[in-house]
Symmetry: C2
Subunit: 353 residues, 2 copies
């Protein structure tokens, strides 16, 4: 697959990815090359990764614990300390080998260590390949509030090696696929039509490149999310609140990011039907597609209340208003839509139906 060039760096695929990395490491004389992994990528991805490195470098490996619950400042402090103790300096580079939690956190750690060192992201989940690989958002959670702390900063390059997906559980792959479906919903009706028929992981893999192009086009026009980039948050305003609610609770089961935003996309689809003219048939198509792929969740009244409370902390709000991205139709999104409170419970009722 052809490399994709963003405003400031390139995204390389498959064998090209390793060629680009090897060339980069050869050109730059980094003082130390750090690789951050979690216990999963340490075992399942690092050996394959290392076998592709042609130069003779002394790598320092830093392992963090996997999971959204570790995407916090305490983990950052551990990594900053490890970088210091292992002699990291301004000429060091950090290679982030892992899913979105790891690349978001690693990007933030690198952007703030000694006021910024170089980093390269090597996403190992479908979600991070299609989403976290473009746009430079880095950051960690603050308590239950997702991505509350972070900066926008670009890596030196992103390497996408779909081979790593073979180490993933099916549920993780389906979770990432929700973001790809979102790309269809907000930007390209045909793409949505194509994707929703997909059943095999091989076919999903084949479309990673398309999804990255859609996201990159949006982010290139509006890198700092002043306007157009907001459409990428479709499904995320309610989706994040649902995800936070599940993360906070000790009784509720784990809900993956894609699973949460799949629900968010149904709920916000309903809001779109009520407010921005999304045809009823398209709303039903959205609901059917997501419920066909992701398990339906039973929300209690109390649960919904907690979720709506978390909404007001969402970073995309300003002046106390809650701003939504909605659809005019499948393939066309609008942003900065303010919503009245009573519509939320209607949306949840529609989801429950």
């Amino acid at each position: 697959m052809k490399s994709i060039t963003t405003t400031s760096y390139s995204i390389h695929f498959n064998l090209d990815a390793f060629n680009a990395l090897n060339a980069h490491l050869e050109e730059h004389t980094y003082s130390t090359i750090f690789i951050m992994v979690d216990e999963n990528t340490h075992e399942h991805c690092l050996p394959a990764f290392m076998s592709q490195i042609t130069g003779d470098y002394a790598f320092e490996i830093i392992e963090i614990e996997s999971g959204e619950e570790n995407k916090n400042i305490e983990t950052c402090t551990g990594v900053w300390s490890a970088l210091s103790e292992l002699g990291g300096d301004r000429k060091s580079i950090l290679l982030n080998l892992g899913g979105g939690v790891l690349t978001d956190l690693g990007g933030f750690v690198a952007s703030t260590f000694k006021r910024g060192i170089n980093f390269i992201n090597i996403p190992t989940t479908l979600l991070s390949m299609v989403d976290a690989s473009v746009g430079g958002k880095t950051g960690v959670d603050l308590g239950p509030l997702k991505n509350q702390i972070g900066v926008i900063n670009q890596p030196q390059m992103v390497l996408i090696v779909p081979e790593f997906l073979q180490t993933l559980e099916a549920r993780q792959i389906e979770s990432g696929f929700a973001e790809m479906l979102k790309h269809g919903l907000i930007k390209d009706k045909n793409y949505w039509g194509e994707l929703k028929k997909i059943t095999s992981y091989k076919e999903m893999e084949a479309h990673i490149h398309d999804s990255v192009i859609i996201k990159n086009d949006v982010v290139t026009i509006d890198p700092t999310e002043q306007n157009l980039r907001k459409i990428l948050n479709y499904g995320h305003t309610l989706g994040h609140a649902i995800e936070s609610h599940y993360l906070e609770s000790e009784e509720l089961p784990t809900l993956l990011h894609g699973e949460a935003i799949a629900i968010g996309m149904i709920l916000e689809g309903y809001l779109s039907y009520k407010l921005t003219g999304l045809p009823k048939s398209e709303l039903e198509d959205i609901k059917e597609t997501f419920l066909g792929r992701y398990k339906k969740i039973e929300f209690t009244e109390e649960g919904i209340k907690s979720i709506l409370k978390l909404l007001i902390f969402d970073k995309k709000n300003s002046h106390g208003n809650i701003n939504f991205v909605l659809l005019k139709s499948i393939g066309e999104a609008v942003y900065d839509i303010k919503i009245k409170d009573e519509l939320f419970s209607e949306a949840f009722s529609y989801y429950k139906e």
Copy 2:
């Protein structure tokens, strides 16, 4: 005094400062205006500050504990949480009213809260007026390692109101003056000559503007410290290590930043005499001037060892080499000078003589 324009913002003085602030707050409809203070500026500076605000705004005050020992990630977490709980969003602004610890930390908190909100610095110490006000360095310490975590990011504006200095202890003002003397040493022999004769605080105040111009000229040429900006670190390589050593120890008395770099400037003056041709007479002038103003410190052999160990963590090093800024003569600095270990103990011996 005339406002000074940097690459991206202005530094306003005295009454102009409040006029600029009032105009800024009027032009921008911030959702929430946060003011960060410490217990000292809360009591001694905030009332005077508030009395100059002409618009009718609801301010939220966030207080942190003063002192370098609180310039850490735990304090940041407290402020990030307070910002979240008080409804801070992307359209909020943070006004940092305090010394260098507070403006460095506040700048970092603002730059990373929801991936970056606006901030304005109102330095209240001489040190922060002449040093932290320009250049966009933000950050906090990691354990004893100074400014290990941070970003380079510019405030909306900086307000310098020397009136606030009246609330400072004499020792704090002398500490800030060390940075002004440094400006003479690295850039302007006449300025050094003028400053070293100064005895009254009024005269020091009158030269703040000159020092800010010197620093701004340097930073404008090299904002990210690739080359020329390094000269601002004169005295800081050894000075920071000395400061860290004192900060780490529970037995040693407090050593202020300016006091530490004053020692650093004597030590690095000696290295300059040995390596880059600083005339003996100028070295003696430097030593005499600083020892005339700052108490001589008794270093033990063990203390010196610890300080040299801390040196290798200094963020300005790369590839394990220790890079120094040295003087060819008073008013002319050179950077990226590598030093052999044995010279350090000679330098300390010279300081002790």
